[in-house]
């Protein structure tokens, strides 16, 4: 896998390969890059932010309260496309518990007044 290290502005071009069950990172300029490359290879994760539609019209901005596996982002966005929020919402409210089975709660990042 080829990727770019984002640990510092250097932006080293990393190559990550698995040989004999061992993850090898090349192209990194420092140990932080090696660690980042290995994590991106084995279990890349992202906090996902998006909008949810409110049943009364308008939108509510949300985030996952912890990073979710990158491979789950598509499933998460599909869920978000069909989900509808109801009632008043305050920043920090949990709107859905673990919708795609990776332990992350969907939290409102802004208020919605009905």
């Amino acid at each position: 896998m080829d990727t770019t290290c984002i640990m510092c502005p250097m932006g080293c071009a990393l190559r990550v390969e698995e040989t004999d069950g061992k993850v090898v990172v090349t192209g990194n300029g420092c140990p932080r890059g090696a660690k980042y490359g290995e994590a991106e290879f084995l279990h890349p994760e992202r906090v996902v932010t998006t909008l949810l539609k409110h049943e009364r019209g308008g939108v509510v901005s949300v985030k996952t309260d912890r990073p979710i596996p990158k491979s789950k982002i598509g499933e998460f966005l599909s869920w978000a496309a069909s989900y509808r929020v109801s009632g008043a919402v305050a920043t920090g409210d949990a709107l859905a518990e673990d919708p795609v089975g990776c332990g992350a709660t969907v939290v409102a990042t802004a208020d919605y007044e009905e």
């Binding site: 510092c8 932010t49 998006t50 909008l51 990042t109 802004a110």
Partner: protein
């Protein structure tokens, strides 16, 4: 005429931080915001990545804004004017604003902090050739329509410019059901953050082409496509290699301009490089008692830096209003050899340290940043890499100032 120690113009991240810092010094504060709520552009930036430096945790834009807004609204010493557009500012610091509830408001202030933010360069400013259909937007306009109003501007998107808002919108549009076909960047590098290139483009397999620009657009009522071409010397497009990309949307992320219209015709000295005021380390402009901070002073990369800078301006404005800001001769700070600009552009000699912020003109690896004063080197700092998109700073000891200051890079 109402009277306040400090009037802050603009209720975004800079204005709110300036107002709170002025309050910590005991000043009475008027905070004037043209929108109907505080927070500025942060309210439409629903992505995360804000606050890592300032709060030590990752927040979304609305969350970052709320931290400041809650404090501002809870402080009885800050009078907030919403939907209040400032129409004029005089040198003796009379601020005239218009609001639907209060009509014409005149405020006499001991000091003024300018915190009006910036605007996006438009299609007109880059003289885009072709027709004039619907379907062409600045990235920020599309962002507002999406994140605040809940409407998407199109289905098939080309983005010109790889500034951070453009990168962020590539991901947002994709997440909301659009296909981003290309991000074209005229320079051989991006002015956006590396993290945004990885997480907004690479994560979603969105192609980014450097040294490429949009040459013209087609479509009568709605955009039907754009021509792109690689650029050669002098950034001139090579029209023999023009390629047509059908799309219904073109987003522009081609630069931000400090919004200093209020200073047109004033005696505030302006920088041609930053399009903001020339300031000293207190962020005081050439007109005493008028301060400037945030994107209206110079375009920042991170909101955390905006908050930091606005705190300096807000505290100094309160000092000025209370007669406690030391005046005195200033030394000039100039930029050279790879440094596009340094800010503040003027400093006082004295005690303690001062941070000189600067931006480089292209990507540099392994360069040394050198600060001289009165012709002598007073600080050197070796760097791994510096990119134009990232604000740099270097801290120097004020006791070492012997004359005018220069910030430059060397091999």
């Amino acid at each position: 005429m109402e009277r306040f120690d400090v009037a802050v113009i603009g209720g975004g991240p800079a204005g709110m931080a300036a107002a709170l810092a002025a309050r910590e010094k005991g000043a009475t504060v008027a905070l004037l915001e043209r929108d109907d709520r505080l927070g500025g552009i942060l309210n439409q930036c629903i992505h995360n990545g804000f606050g890592l430096h300032y709060f030590g945790e990752e927040l979304t834009g609305p969350e970052y804004a709320k931290r400041f807004r809650d404090k501002v609204l809870a402080d009885a010493g800050i009078t907030v004017f919403l939907e209040a557009m400032v129409l004029s500012l005089t040198e003796d610091r009379v601020v005239t604003a218009l609001s639907p509830t209060k009509g014409l408001v005149e405020i006499e202030a001991g000091a003024v902090v300018l915190a009006m933010g910036c605007r996006e360069r438009s299609a007109g400013a880059i003289a885009l050739a072709g027709t004039r259909p619907a379907g062409i937007y600045t990235a920020g306009m599309a962002q507002r329509l999406c994140n605040v109003e809940g409407y998407l501007v199109g289905k098939e998107v080309v983005i010109l410019g790889s500034g951070d808002i453009g990168l962020i919108m590539a991901r947002r549009m994709t997440s909301e059901g659009a296909k981003v076909k290309l991000v074209a960047e005229i320079m051989p590098f991006s002015s956006g953050l590396k993290r945004n290139i990885v997480q907004c483009l690479n994560d979603y397999d969105i192609p980014l082409r450097y040294s490429t620009t949009v040459t013209r657009v087609t479509g009568k009522n709605r955009l039907t496509g754009v021509y792109v071409a690689p650029v050669g010397e002098g950034l001139r497009p090579d029209l023999s290699r023009e390629e047509y990309i059908p799309c219904d949307t073109l987003l522009l992320s081609v630069g931000l301009i400090p919004e200093n219209d209020l200073l047109t015709g004033s005696r505030v000295e302006m920088s041609r490089v930053t399009s903001g005021a020339v300031v000293d380390e207190y962020r005081q402009t050439s007109v005493p008692g008028i301060f400037s901070a945030g994107n209206v002073l110079h375009v920042h990369d991170l909101v955390d830096n905006v908050s930091e800078e606005a705190r300096i301006a807000g505290a100094a404005a309160a000092d000025y209003a209370q007669g406690a800001l030391s005046a005195g001769e200033t030394l000039s700070v100039t930029a050279a050899d790879g440094v596009r600009y340094a800010l503040p552009q003027r400093v006082h000699a004295g005690e303690g340290t001062v941070r000189l912020y600067f931006r480089v003109d292209k990507v540099y690896r392994g360069r040394t940043v050198v600060v001289t004063s009165g012709g002598e080197v007073i600080k050197r700092k070796k760097t791994l890499v510096m990119a134009p998109g990232e604000m740099q700073y270097i801290e120097v000891d004020r006791a070492l100032f012997k004359g005018d200051v220069s910030v430059r890079t060397e091999e």
